[in-house]
């Protein structure tokens, strides 16, 4: 073993220690009794403090807020949103890989103009409610844009690459821009009968919309790496293209789907901003509850630690699984 290698190992150990120590600290703090926490730092269970289950009992008895309910919500929202996002996203990604699209810039602009102008017009001059004018303007814009796209238009034609770029660039937007508008839109929808704020579907909807760019980006690389020959053979046999997708393409890209699903789930599980804006009590998610722990009843670190562990453990399990997948060259495609 040469010196460089020793140095590298040492550095790795150092960084791994820095990574692990805070996590270790949470775990032991969650098993400390209140006096043991407040008496100053202690490090090793059974040696300098006696572990107790006090914090966990508090959580189970509902003293720290509705944990059982919140974990259930987070799980339900997370799994549903990730499943839907993976499904829709991979359909879109597959379409973008295999079929050439031509969207004319002109029709895109027309879409924009009608959606925006129509909305303002209906709202301000025809006195329609916000949500109604929104829906009307939007569907009108969509129909017109699709029709217009078939005509010859001046201006450049956008291909698949441009569409993908557009998708991915969504990630660049600061979420506040959208979170705030979404809050207003949801409250308007609430007034006209569809309750969206603080509901299951309201949250799932937001998260699906916001995970899609990542899903499309990741899945596109997986699909592009699949051999086209199998699909071509199926096409010759006159298999309809949606059957090719469900029966051939999806089974072949199982590892990619799994990884994408998990990355999406991690994103949704940890998401804070949208949950903060769009939920209040009924469908609160875990990050909000955890963040609220330190202000509600003062700094009760033993309970905070237990709460934090709730949020962390599923993600650690996923880190282990992802690490496995990574070894099989998962991320290679994603950055090329």
């Amino acid at each position: 073993m040469n010196w460089g290698r020793k140095f590298a190992t040492l550095g790795l150990f150092f960084w791994a220690f820095l990574t692990l120590f805070p996590l270790y600290w949470v775990v032991i703090t969650a098993f400390k009794s209140p006096p043991a926490v407040n008496g100053g730092p202690t490090y090793i269970p059974w040696v300098d403090f006696q572990p107790t289950l006090q914090a966990w009992r508090d959580i189970a008895s509902g003293l720290r807020g509705n944990f059982v309910g919140t974990v259930t919500h987070s799980t339900l929202i997370g799994v549903t949103a990730s499943l839907l996002a993976t499904l829709f996203g991979s359909m879109a990604a597959y379409a973008l890989v295999r079929f050439p699209f031509k969207v004319k810039l002109g029709s895109g602009l027309i879409f924009f103009a009608i959606a925006m102008g129509g909305y303002q017009l209906l709202l301000n001059y025809y006195g329609m409610s916000r949500s109604n004018s929104m829906l009307t303007a939007f569907s009108a814009a969509l129909v017109v844009a699709v029709i217009v796209n078939n005509f010859r238009l001046p201006g450049p034609i956008l291909g698949n690459e441009d569409i993908v770029f557009w998708f991915v660039s969504q990630r660049m937007f600061p979420p506040v821009v959208v979170a705030f508008a979404l809050f207003l839109m949801y409250s308007e929808l609430g007034k006209s009968g569809f309750k969206m704020i603080d509901t299951f579907w309201g949250m799932v909807f937001v998260y699906v919309a916001f995970s899609l760019p990542i899903v499309v980006w990741l899945m596109r690389d997986f699909f592009a790496a699949l051999p086209v020959e199998v699909e071509e053979a199926a096409l010759v046999d006159n298999v309809p293209s949606w059957r090719i997708f469900t029966d051939i393409v999806l089974p072949m890209s199982k590892p990619g789907l799994a990884a994408t699903f998990m990355i999406t789930l991690a994103f949704v599980w940890n998401e804070f901003l949208f949950a903060l804006f769009l939920t209040n009590s009924k469908w609160q998610t875990l990050p909000i509850l955890v963040a609220g722990q330190n202000s509600q009843r003062g700094d009760e670190w033993w309970a905070v630690s237990a709460a934090v562990m709730f949020a962390i453990i599923p993600m650690i399990v996923m880190a282990a699984i992802l690490g496995r997948l990574m070894r099989s060259g998962l991320t290679l495609g994603a950055i090329k």
């Binding site: 590298a8 190992t9 550095g11 790795l12 960084w15 791994a16 990574t19 692990l20 805070p22 996590l23 600290w25 949470v26 703090t29 926490v37 100053g40 730092p41 490090y43 924009f112 959606a115 909305y119 929104m134 939007f138 990630r171 660049m172 937007f173 600061p174 979420p175 506040v176 821009v177 959208v178 705030f180 508008a181 979404l182 207003l184 839109m185 699906v208 919309a209 599980w269 940890n270 804070f272 901003l273 875990l286 990050p287 963040a291 330190n294 700094d299 670190w301 934090v308 949020a311 962390i312 993600m315 880190a319 992802l322 690490g323 990574m326 070894r327 991320t331 290679l332 994603a334 950055i335």
Partner: protein, 275 residues
């Protein structure tokens, strides 16, 4: 298509609000006031302070993340025993909710119960004001950002390292080029495009920082660590000043785009020169 539309609509909606005077409390009918919101924001010192704070956090933390991340990725790539275990461990922070990370940080930095204070006291630095003093608080937030997001750089740089062709290194070893020279003459230039992409993603993502600051300092002491997103949240949800907030978020968007373009413009000649 519907989802696509779903993503555009809030944008259009908040753009239209940003030109209006619109408050929920006290409730007033929205009225058009042109660029007033923008003008008011740009003349407010708090806005510039928030921009400054956010930029400092982003620039310093992304730089450190990149350096450490690259170093760790190179070390991992050197086929060290147990590197698969290291890989899992090193990935973990990235997947933990930023809220949880911030709470852990508050525990560690706590002057009474935290281990770090005890550790530093041993070296003669008792009671450092980690979250109470302006500069220390910034430092703490940056440290937490680095802790959490270096794994992202490691992950992608490692993937990048694995794509490098082996024969170039073999040739270099034959010519007795030192490891150090190999790194600077082969590895670094070849990974430059990926590096640019990674740093770019990190810059964009870091500008959105909110949860960490929200939990760690709440923007304090004073407004010393307040970031853009947090500022928007305060204006919108504490004061319900909607038009103003919408204008703020669009300035934010413009700012990010400008930063992104500047970054790419600075970096572009280097990337092109190499390839």
């Amino acid at each position: 298509m519907i989802v696509l539309a779903m993503a555009i609509f809030p944008l259009i909606y908040s753009l239209s609000i940003s030109f209006m005077h619109y408050r929920l409390i006290p409730p007033m009918p929205p009225r058009f006031n042109g660029l007033d919101n923008y003008a008011k924001l740009l003349s407010q010192p708090r806005f510039w302070s928030v921009i400054y704070t956010t930029s400092v956090i982003v620039v310093i933390s992304v730089t450190i993340q990149y350096v450490i991340g690259f170093a760790v990725a190179t070390a991992l790539h050197a086929k060290i025993k147990g590197s698969s275990v290291f890989r899992v461990i090193l990935l973990m922070p990235m997947l933990i909710a930023p809220v949880a990370v911030a709470l852990i940080a508050r525990m560690i930095l706590n002057p009474v119960i935290g281990p770090l204070d005890q550790f530093l006291t041993m070296f003669g630095f008792p009671d450092l004001p980690f979250l109470a003093d302006k500069n220390w608080a910034m430092g703490s937030i940056i440290a937490v950002e680095v802790w959490q997001w270096t794994p992202f750089v490691i992950l992608l740089m490692l993937a990048g390292l694995q794509t490098l062709p082996k024969d170039v290194y073999e040739a270099a070893t034959l010519e007795n080029a030192s490891r150090w020279r190999q790194f600077w003459d082969i590895t670094f230039p070849m990974l430059l495009p990926i590096s640019v992409a990674i740093v770019f993603i990190r810059i964009i993502e870091s500008f959105k920082i909110m949860d960490t600051v929200f939990v760690m300092t709440g923007g304090g002491p004073g407004i010393a660590t307040e970031t853009l997103t947090l500022f928007a949240y305060q204006e919108g949800f504490k004061k319900f000043n909607l038009g103003y907030t919408a204008a703020l978020s669009f300035l934010f968007l413009i700012f990010i785009i400008v930063i992104g373009v500047i970054f790419l413009a600075i970096v572009k000649p280097y990337v092109e020169k190499r390839s």
